[in-house]
Symmetry: none
Subunit: 213 residues, 4 copies
């Protein structure tokens, strides 16, 4: 099951593991998979080139390890938000999720970079596969969410759950991508503190989805 046999890497001291991961994340974030340079990774990590190939048999497997880690963090983050907000009303929760996403981008810009590169290009091993998996997972996450909203009568029971989740995923994803692009655009004059536009979107969704006038 575990394609990336990392037995050797896992036995390394945590500290050393972290140094290698950090160097890899930085390089992959800046350059994507193919343009990332193993040379630079080992230089920045301060390890021998041969060692990296001892831990991970190839650049591809290193990349899989790193992005798996990145996704795990994203998912854990979102799960936490979902759980912590489970007392809130649906659209409050939705807003919290979006802001959690933005928060994540602010705190882990490199992981965000990897995520968006991964999501949007297929310049990586198993590229398109991963993209579809991510979509599916995100949609499933939102489906469950929507179902809870319907149960609590906060959402119209006439909603087609799958379709709604699909649309919601598209919108949420675009919101985060827009924020991400502005964040990394040196010429952007957008006020990063002003997140009114996000509230506005949530408002429109509320009108459309709650089934109430």
């Amino acid at each position: 099951m575990n394609l990336t046999n990392t037995k050797k890497f896992d036995h390394l001291p945590d500290e050393k593991q972290q140094i290698i991961i950090d160097a890899s994340v930085a390089e992959f974030a800046d350059n994507g998979f193919k343009n990332a340079s193993v040379n630079k990774i080992v230089n920045n990590a301060g390890i021998a080139k041969g060692s990296l190939f001892n831990y991970f048999k190839s650049k591809s497997l290193l990349f899989e390890y790193v992005y798996t880690l990145a996704l795990k963090e994203v998912k854990a983050y979102l799960a936490r938000v979902r759980d912590e907000s489970n007392q809130d009303e649906f659209f409050t929760r939705l807003s919290k999720i979006i802001h959690a996403g933005i928060n994540f981008i602010d705190k882990h810009p490199l992981l965000a970079k990897i995520y968006f590169r991964l999501l949007n290009s297929d310049d990586s091993p198993r590229g398109k596969k991963i993209i579809k998996e991510l979509h599916t997972e995100a949609v499933d996450y939102l489906k469950q969410f929507i179902m809870e909203g319907i149960e609590r009568k906060e959402l119209s029971d006439k909603l087609n759950i799958s379709t709604t989740a699909f649309m919601l995923e598209a919108i949420l994803n675009r919101i985060l991508q827009t924020y991400y692009l502005d964040l990394f655009d040196p010429e952007s004059d957008i006020d990063k503190e002003n997140k009114e536009w996000i509230n506005s979107i949530v408002g429109v969704l509320k009108n459309g989805l709650s089934g109430k006038p």
Copy 2:
């Protein structure tokens, strides 16, 4: 005005131009900008390496030429659909636009590839710039569209036009991306003829946007 000075290329016989464009499109579609190989392009086109650099001073300029061509085709296509459907009711038009997009992907899969790569990665000269421009253009296209719908009383006049356009763009784009990913996924078992899910989305949008019960 014309950043990519292509005087020399333009004077080539149409037939030869097309061979070179085809080879370039195929290579960029398969590999994105940075991972595309000029070597492979010239080999596939059957021309000398030096020749390509006579026509286009650099790989970047060749890429700009190619993607400009691709975008021009996409835009012309969408403009035609908008104009031809301007007697139709809003959601009929919306549906036509989506199917036009799908049609385009079917007919020009390589251009679609370039489009989605462009839209979604920043692995190209002026990468993020282009992405934002494309979003803006698409949103503007839809804004105009929505305004017409409101004027004809086919859409609720309470809609926030910008926000709605933003969301619509996100959804339409994801629909096409989903279709595109399935098309290129050899393992996909999805029935490409079955576009019911698209109609279902349009239906939900109709409920949400028309302001009618």
Copy 3:
């Protein structure tokens, strides 16, 4: 005798000849022989690449034509100075010659560049040959000069003419090279107007050569 058969070039309108020469001089001055680009020359001259190869069969022959022209100008200049100053006393004449050289560098920096590159490297067809010819010519020029000085009793009649000319040539050449290097050194803080150091050298020579206390 005329290695560079330039019949064709000579029949061109003077104006066009000059444009081509100017472009060539600029390119050779900036880049030496081998690194000069024929492409750039024809672009700057605004002529077809094939045309240049019609006029001059090769890059080498073009270079020979150009540097011959440049040397002709240098020599004509020096001959004029010698003739115009033939009433002056030896060391006055010497000083005039040096300042004439400096003047030439100021007025024709590109030709000076070619001259010094030629003089000092062998990155050109018949490289070392040319250098030796130039030395010989310069030494001969100075020999004649010295002989006139001895005849007029302005120089000691005990001087070994050849040896003195050799040394004088070395010194004069170094003076001009020093000036030239400063002229093109952007970081040089030397006061280009202050030519006192040159007079000082002439003074020392006067002491050494005139045979008078």
Copy 4:
């Protein structure tokens, strides 16, 4: 401090180092910096292309390493001569220095080539800078020399030290250059054993500089 980080190269077996240096020296000597071909160097040295770039990050840094080595040898040689001859009278020493230079050219013709190319062209990284530095160093070397001569009353105390050093440097340099050019001129019919002309120059200098009749 050490601009050309050559840690990797320094750790190579001396024998291999020498092979690479020899190939580099030969290529740079024959072609100068820009026209030297890294391809040819690695072929002649019998190593992989990538290896050279492991040792030296760029052609420029390889060149810097090589010419630094060459200059170090020249300087060490001259310093030795100066020290070994410090009991001799000034003009004897001067003569020894000149013959030492000639000796060096005979023994290390390739290094001499690099030296004269370096001295006389600016086709190298930091080209003109280096030339001026070399002049300055040579002049300083001679200044010290002249001062010692004055102290010992072997030279006139009326000499302007800087000016004299400048002139002496010009003359010595031209002597060596002349010898060097003859050495490499296959058509030269000069008798390389006959160095009478050099003694003649020293004689003239003695008359001019010693202040004695």
